[in-house]
């Protein structure tokens, strides 16, 4: 794995001028207020198309934070795996830090950064990493057999449902984040 991935905070700079927060329309203001980092350059860039931001922010929020179902640490781990595969330094930094806050396990992230998603992991993390990697790389190859390792570590239907959405959400996030601007290391 590349040494670009980090547990340190990363900034992001847009390649097109973001919306000016001071002159945002009321609809843009409301959609920004519902976004994770309301006046960051990233969300101010997405605010150019308020129609899609109005849908995406509540979707992202629900997929990452809705109560019950897949534990939050598992969602964060899945999004880090996807972000490493897609090369998204910014996304992986944010969500790796959330995973560490929840689990106190920076060692898992360091191994993933150093050795990639194939690194040695505990059984539940292994099952999540394998499923996240396959759904990211080869969505058409996913079949019922790919769910067996998730069942073996005790996941129920709702947890698998949530895992599918967390992985899919970062097919989305990594594509926006890496194609409208770039990470800036502080």
């Amino acid at each position: 794995m590349s040494g670009r991935f980090t547990l340190e905070p990363v900034e992001w700079a847009a390649w097109i001028p973001p919306v000016d927060a001071a002159t945002a329309t009321p609809r843009q203001r409301a959609a920004l207020d519902a976004s994770p980092q309301r006046d960051s350059p990233y969300f101010l860039t997405l605010a150019h198309d308020v129609d899609s931001l109005e849908q995406r922010s509540p979707l992202f929020h629900a997929v990452m934070y809705v109560p019950r179902g897949l534990p939050r640490a598992d969602r964060e781990l899945a999004t880090v795996i996807v972000s490493i595969i897609n090369g998204c330094v910014y996304c992986s930094s944010v969500h790796a830090r959330r995973f560490v806050e929840l689990t106190k396990r920076p060692d898992v992230i360091v191994r993933l950064y150093d050795e990639g998603p194939g690194t040695q992991l505990e059984p539940r993390q292994r099952a999540i990493a394998d499923f996240a990697a396959k759904l990211t790389r080869e969505p058409q190859a996913i079949a019922a057999a790919d769910l067996r390792p998730l069942r073996e570590v005790g996941m129920d239907d709702l947890q698998i449902h949530d895992l599918i959405h967390a992985v899919a959400m970062f097919a989305n996030a990594n594509r926006l984040m890496q194609t409208l601007g770039e990470p800036v290391t502080a």
């Binding site: 097109i16 198309d49 899609s52 509540p58």
Partner: protein
């Protein structure tokens, strides 16, 4: 009442166990469909035409080889009066060609995009909002493809 694109593409009957499971996550269902609707069938398409929007979505589904979503976006292109054969053969205007090349890049190698790729879109006549719309369409369909693929596996497992 529009048809739910995920249920349709994943082949989920409304009384199926996976469709019932989805109803436990009402916000996922609502905003997954909502994202699709505002990007593909907006009442005010602004600077990216309905044909360009559907063509971009079709391109993502074709690259990812999702037959159900390819069929969905081909149908949508026909609804808005596009020449689907010409679009799939890339026999299109320089502007749409620039959009579709960008869509291919974002689908297959998002980490390879650079500032100059957005300059190319600007030269093709896209404004800032239009550039965001194209990226959101690729992001939305890339998400949709993986949701549908995962739910199909879950349905297959439940039938077994």
């Amino acid at each position: 009442m529009t048809t739910d694109i995920v249920d349709t593409a994943a082949g989920l009957a409304s009384d199926s166990p996976v469709a019932a499971l989805r109803q436990q996550r009402e916000a996922f269902v609502r905003h997954t469909q909502g994202s699709h609707d505002v990007l593909i069938t907006p009442s005010d398409p602004g600077g990216v035409s309905l044909i360009e929007r559907a063509a971009a979505a079709l391109r993502v589904a074709s690259i990812e080889r999702d037959a159900a979503l390819v069929a969905h976006y081909r149908k949508r292109l026909l609804e808005v009066g596009a020449d689907v054969v010409a679009i799939e053969a890339m026999n299109v205007s320089p502007r749409l060609e620039a959009i579709l090349r960008h869509v291919s890049l974002l689908t297959t190698a998002p980490g390879s995009a650079t500032r100059s790729d957005l300059e190319t879109l600007r030269h093709a006549g896209l404004a800032e909002r239009d550039i965001v719309v194209v990226a959101q369409i690729v992001a939305c369909v890339s998400y949709q493809i993986r949701v549908v693929a995962g739910l199909r596996a879950l349905a297959e497992e439940m039938r077994a």
